[in-house]
Symmetry: C2
Amino acid sequence: MHPITLHAIWSSEPKCRHCAVRGSVLFAGLAEADFHHIHQPIRDVNLAPKDLLYRLGEGGRALFTLRCGVIKLVQYLPDGSQRIVRLLKDGDVLGLEALIGQPYQHEAIALTDCEICAIPVEVIERLGRERPGLHRELMARWQQALTEADVWLTQFGTGTARQRVARLLLRLTCVDQDRLPLFCRQDIGAMLGLTTETVSRTIAELRRQGLLRDHGAHIQDCDRETLRRIADGEE
Amino acid sequence: MHPITLHAIWSSEPKCRHCAVRGSVLFAGLAEADFHHIHQPIRDVNLAPKDLLYRLGEGGRALFTLRCGVIKLVQYLPDGSQRIVRLLKDGDVLGLEALIGQPYQHEAIALTDCEICAIPVEVIERLGRERPGLHRELMARWQQALTEADVWLTQFGTGTARQRVARLLLRLTCVDQDRLPLFCRQDIGAMLGLTTETVSRTIAELRRQGLLRDHGAHIQDCDRETLRRIADGEE
DNA sequence: CGCCCAGTTGAGGACACTCAATAGCGGTGG
DNA sequence: CCACCGCTATTGAGTGTCCTCAACTGGGCG
């Protein structure tokens, strides 16, 4: 178990106002005046890779915005193997289930260094009462997660290993053209429903065909055009 | 293309008040007085099996509650094959994406006869402004869809054909112990990411082992205990 | 009666999994 | 500084599962 670094920073350092990703995170639409209504502490959480943000089944009273970093949401199968259900990146929101009183549905585990805001549910509820626009924002977040879930099912749950890997690489590189977070083969397998050996073999072959370069776990210079053809089953 | 039967019934027949599934559908918590605020027509839609409720990419201005019946949400892969992403049953809500101005993300196709309420987005917005509780209800619906999506990914996207079929049968029968809607082998395949032949073979073997009976597409009398062991990979 | 569609069954092959051995990398300690 | 350890990635061989293609069956309906 990894310790979670929590320290209340609200009173001393109102980061929300100056938050680097304010344009894209939950409070994007908040007017300056709205911040005066926040009496509850919004906490600042920092995670290192492999740290646990929250546990599956834990009854949480906060939701989180990811200011920077990458987090994986994991669920487990009866046989103990794990499946990565979604990835979250800068500006994404997680733990929404807390808003309706449900325990967290996943384990949330950091893949990179992460900076996170932990927002108590009561803060959202109070703000929501006075600013209905917040609800629209929240619903959009939910819809975004749902769309993402559907994509994972269709893109990463169907087709050959070659297709799935190609699709994953396309999706990961479309954010940051060449720089994508380093995933171990096991994580890639857990995202695609494949074994680490199959993933390794598949990536090795793509490398031999000159469709990407990789130093260790770092994958670079994907030939997106060819990968797209592979993803669509054209070769 | 299947014609959609739409007829406005609000003025003549205010079904929402007497809706059979009012206890579990969207307007569960609405006080009687709230209905006076609805000036927009809530339409009644009836579908036969294979009828299309809405199309993927269609920009809709209504969301739907399913009073009775079963509906499948379908997405398509680049190669044209279809994947069933979720099933909806009595009391479920669909088309939520319309609420945030997005086009529908799936094809919604009836599997049985269906009775549906089509609720204009404006109605929800007006009601939501006056009754914040509605937002909570909507968020719960979204979360429910999300949880369901995760289940499909982990349960139906992993494991052997035998395990997946067992899991599907368990999930379908847990609602209605012995009576489950009739799915063709192709639909089952589209839910599990398997071919119809594999589904057919797998079910045939379960039948030979006495774990279920089926007359044509109707499956009955599942041995849920044994199926559970199969689903968990214990045999 | 015969068509049509859905389901079943068979044969063969491709693909991914399992088990196992090896290689490569980074960190630690002597 | 180098040897060693542990972990991850890679590669190989063999097997099992599922897909593909194809033929056949059976029920529903015109």
